[in-house]
C-alpha cells in the first residue's frame, strides 16, 4: 500500500495526472494548474534522498522472483527528471497564448512520461513510460491536421512503436533467462564474447529514440511539420530520455563513441543545405545528441558528467531556439529561409533571445554550452582519442555554422524579406526570457549545474587557455563566414527538399510495398482462378454423370433388372453352399 502511494505521488505520475485534470479547464486556468502541478512534482523530486527506490514484487517465473522498481532516484536520474520538469514549465508558459487543449494535455502528459521514464528502475516500467512518450508526442505531430503532418505522424508512430517493441522483446528475454527486470548497466556481449540478443534488443530500442545514424529520420521528418509549440515540446524529451537510458545501461560501450562521433558530423552538411529553419534545428539536435552519445561511450566519470550536463543545457538552448523559430512561424506563417530575413527590425526581442540560444549552442564562453561541452571534450582528450576529439572539434565548428549563424542570420538578418511582423506575444517572450536567463546563468555560474551532476566535479572550465582556444575557434569561423558572404561564396537558400536516408523507405521502400501488394493480389487472383476452374470442371463432370441427363439417371429396362436379380440370387446360393 505504501509502495502504491509512493508511486502515485512520484513526480512523473503527478505530472501525468495534472495533465489529464487540465482537460476540463479553460486556457489560463489550465496553464495555472499545470505550473502548480509541475512545481509540486519538482518539490516531490527534490525531497527524495539520493538512492531512494520503491520495489514491488511482481511474480515468480521459473523459481526467480521478478521485482518491479517503479521509482529510483539517484544522481543520474535526478538531473534528467529535473530538466524535464523545467522544460515542461517553459513549454506551458510558451504555449499559454495559443491554449490548444489537445496539445497542452498531450504535451504535459508527454513530459510526465519522460520524467517517469527517467525515474524508472526496471525495464517494464521504463517500457510503459517509453510507449507513453511515443503516443502522447504523436498527438503533437498530428496537431496541424495537414496531409504532410498526418503522413509524418504515421511514420513517426511506426518508428516509435518499433522502438517500444524492441524494448519489450529485450525485457521479455531478460525475464525468460532469469536475469530479472532491473534496469542496470548491461553489456552487449556475454562473458565468452558472444552477442547477447536480449541486450541488443534493448540497445536498438534506445538507438531508435536517440536517432542513431540511419535510424534518425523520424526526427527531421516530423519535428519541422508540427505546430508552433509542438516542436518546442518535442525537442526536449524523447532523444534526451534515450540519452539517459544509454547512460544508465551502456556507459563505456565503445561502439557508442563512434556512433556518437558520426552523429555529430553528418547532420552538419544536411543542415547547411536545408531551407526550413526548423529542420535545420532538427539536424542540429541530432548533432548535439551525438556529443552526448559519444560521451556515454567514453563512459568515464568525467564523460558521464559531460553527457548529463550537455543534455541539461541542450534542452534549454534547443527549446529557446525552437521557441524563437516558433515565434517567427506564429507571426509570419513560415520558417523557410527563402521567405525570411530582416525580421530584427520588428522582432528585436525575439532576435536577441535567438542569438542567446545560438551563442549557447555554439559554446561561447559565459554561455551554457561552453561549461557543458568542455566536459565531454576534456573526457575524450583525457582518454587520448585523437581522431574522436578532432571529429568533435570539427562538429563544434559545424554547430556554429548551422545553429550559431544560419538560424539567426537567415531569419532575422540576411536579405530583407520585406516582412514586418509584430513582436512575439508576451507569453512567448517570457518563456524565451526565462530560457535565456538560464542559458547565461549556467554559463556564468557553472558550479550550480556541476553540483547536481552524477559524479563529483573537479573541473574548471574558465582557464585562460580554454577561453582563448574556444574564442579562436569561434571567431575565426565567424571570420570565414563573413568572408564567404562578402565574396558571395556562401550558398543562397533554395526552395527545395533534400533527400536523406528516409528516401529509402519513402520512395523505393514504398514502391516495393506497393509492388508486393500488387504482386500478392495477382498471385491470389491467379491461384483462386486455377482453383475455381478445377472445381468448375469437376462439378461439370459430376453433373454429366449424375445429372438428369447423366449415365446414372438413365431409365433402365425391366429385363435388365430381372437379370441382375437373378445374378444376385445365384451369388447368394453359391455363398450358402460354400458356408
Amino acid at each position: 500500500m505504501n509502495e502504491l502511494i509512493a508511486v502515485l505521488t512520484s513526480p512523473g505520475v503527478i505530472v501525468i495526472i495534472i495533465a489529464l485534470l487540465g482537460l476540463g479547464l479553460g486556457g489560463t486556468a489550465r496553464a495555472g494548474l499545470y505550473l502548480a502541478g509541475i512545481a509540486a512534482a519538482a518539490v516531490a523530486l527534490t525531497r527524495y534522498e539520493m538512492g531512494f527506490v520503491v520495489s514491488l514484487p511482481l511474480f515468480e517465473i521459473a523459481g526467480n522472483s521478478i521485482d518491479l522498481t517503479p521509482l529510483r532516484v539517484d544522481k543520474l536520474s535526478f538531473i534528467f527528471a529535473l530538466i524535464f520538469l523545467i522544460a515542461a514549465a517553459l513549454n506551458v508558459i510558451y504555449a499559454w497564448r495559443i491554449g490548444d487543449r489537445a496539445q497542452d494535455v498531450a504535451g504535459l502528459s508527454y513530459a510526465g512520461a519522460a520524467v517517469g521514464g527517467a525515474l524508472s528502475g526496471d525495464l517494464l516500467t521504463l517500457f510503459i513510460f517509453w510507449e507513453l512518450t511515443a503516443i502522447t508526442s504523436a498527438v503533437l505531430i498530428f496537431a496541424p491536421g495537414t496531409k504532410q503532418s498526418y503522413a509524418a505522424g504515421m511514420r513517426y508512430m511506426v518508428v516509435q512503436i518499433l522502438s517500444g517493441l524492441f524494448l519489450l522483446a529485450g525485457l521479455s528475454m531478460f525475464a525468460a533467462s532469469g536475469r530479472g527486470l532491473g534496469f542496470e548497466a548491461m553489456s552487449l556481449t556475454d562473458a565468452e564474447g558472444a552477442l547477447d540478443y536480449a541486450v541488443l534488443a534493448v540497445f536498438l530500442a534506445f538507438g531508435v529514440k536517440a536517432a542513431f545514424p540511419f535510424l534518425h529520420n523520424w526526427l527531421q521528418d516530423s519535428y519541422p511539420k508540427t505546430t508552433v509549440t509542438g516542436a518546442v515540446v518535442l525537442s526536449a524529451f524523447t532523444t534526451k530520455l534515450a540519452v539517459y537510458a544509454l547512460a544508465r545501461g551502456f556507459a563505456g560501450t565503445d561502439i557508442l563513441i563512434y556512433i556518437g562521433a558520426t552523429m555529430t558530423i553528418f547532420p552538419v552538411f544536411f543542415a547547411l543545405i536545408e531551407n526550413d529553419l526548423r529542420k535545420v534545428l532538427a539536424y542540429s539536435l541530432n548533432n548535439q545528441v551525438g556529443f552526448m552519445v559519444c560521451a556515454v561511450g567514453v563512459g568515464t566519470e568525467l564523460a558521464i558528467n559531460g553527457a548529463a550536463a550537455h543534455a541539461f543545457v541542450h534542452i534549454l538552448y534547443k527549446a529557446l531556439l525552437f521557441m524563437s523559430m516558433g515565434a517567427v512561424l506564429y507571426r509570419t506563417g513560415t520558417t523557410k529561409a527563402t521567405e525570411l530575413g530582416g525580421l530584427y527590425r520588428t522582432m528585436p526581442a525575439t532576435t536577441v533571445f535567438c542569438i542567446i540560444g545560438a551563442m549557447s549552442i555554439s559554446a561561447f564562453p559565459l554561455f551554457s554550452g561552453f561549461v557543458a561541452k568542455s566536459l565531454t571534450m576534456s573526457a575524450v582528450g583525457y582518454e587520448g582519442m585523437f581522431f574522436v576529439w578532432l571529429a568533435l572539434l570539427f562538429a563544434s565548428a559545424g554547430v556554429l555554422e548551422h545553429s550559431g549563424i544560419k538560424i539567426p542570420y537567415f531569419a532575422f538578418f540576411g536579405h530583407d524579406s520585406g516582412k514586418r511582423p509584430k513582436e512575439a506575444p508576451p507569453q512567448m517572450l517570457i518563456a524565451m526570457g526565462i530560457a535565456s536567463a538560464l542559458c547565461i546563468g549556467i554559463g556564468v555560474f557553472p558550479q550550480y549545474l556541476y553540483s547536481i551532476l552524477p559524479y563529483a566535479v573537479k573541473y574548471e572550465p574558465y582557464t585562460a587557455a580554454h577561453v582563448v582556444t574556444q574564442m579562436q575557434l569561434l571567431l575565426f569561423a565567424m571570420l570565414a563566414f563573413a568572408l564567404l558572404v562578402k565574396f558571395k561564396l556562401y550558398p543562397a537558400e533554395v526552395r527545395s527538399v533534400n533527400l536523406d536516408f528516409d528516401w529509402f523507405y519513402r520512395v523505393p521502400g514504398r514502391n516495393l510495398l506497393t509492388w508486393a501488394n500488387g504482386a500478392s493480389r495477382a498471385t491470389w487472383n491467379a491461384l483462386s482462378g486455377i482453383c475455381t476452374q478445377r472445381v468448375q470442371a469437376l462439378m461439370a463432370r459430376i453433373y454429366a454423370v449424375h445429372g438428369p441427363e447423366g449415365q446414372f439417371a438413365r431409365s433402365w429396362p425391366i429385363g435388365f433388372m430381372a437379370l441382375w436379380t437373378a445374378v444376385l440370387l445365384a451369388f447368394v446360393l453359391v455363398l450358402s453352399f460354400v458356408a
Binding site: 504532410q148 587520448g384 572539434l393 533554395v494
Partner: protein, 99 residues
C-alpha cells in the same frame, strides 16, 4: 488565432526603386564596417593571446598558438564550400514526396 500571422509589408518595399535606402540599423554601411573592424580585431587579439599564454592541451598540436583559429576557419570554409555540392545529389523540388 486572432493575432497570428500579423505581418505587414515594409513601408517602402525594397523592390520599389533601384537604389533602396537601407532602413535597419544592421543594414547601415557604418554598422557593417564597425562589425568588420570588431571581428578582425577580436580575431587578431585572440590569435596573439594564443602565443602569449601557455596552451597546455591533451595533444601536442594544441600547443601551436593559432591551431584552434586555423582549424575553425578551415573547417567552416570546408563545410560551406564542399557541403553545398551535396545539393547536386540530394536536392529535389519541394513537392517531391507528393504529400
Amino acid at each position: 488565432m486572432s493575432d497570428q500571422n500579423q505581418t505587414t509589408p515594409a513601408a517602402t518595399p525594397n523592390t520599389g526603386s533601384d537604389h533602396p535606402k537601407p532602413d535597419g540599423f544592421f543594414d547601415q554601411p557604418g554598422t557593417r564596417t564597425a562589425i568588420w573592424i570588431i571581428l578582425i580585431a577580436l580575431c587578431a587579439g585572440f590569435a596573439i593571446a594564443g602565443f602569449v599564454i601557455d596552451l597546455h592541451g591533451y595533444f601536442p598540436i594544441e600547443e601551436f598558438g593559432v591551431f584552434y583559429g586555423l582549424f575553425g576557419f578551415g573547417v567552416f570554409s570546408f563545410i560551406v564550400l564542399v557541403g553545398q555540392h551535396l545539393r547536386k545529389i540530394l536536392m529535389r523540388p519541394e513537392d517531391y514526396y507528393d504529400e
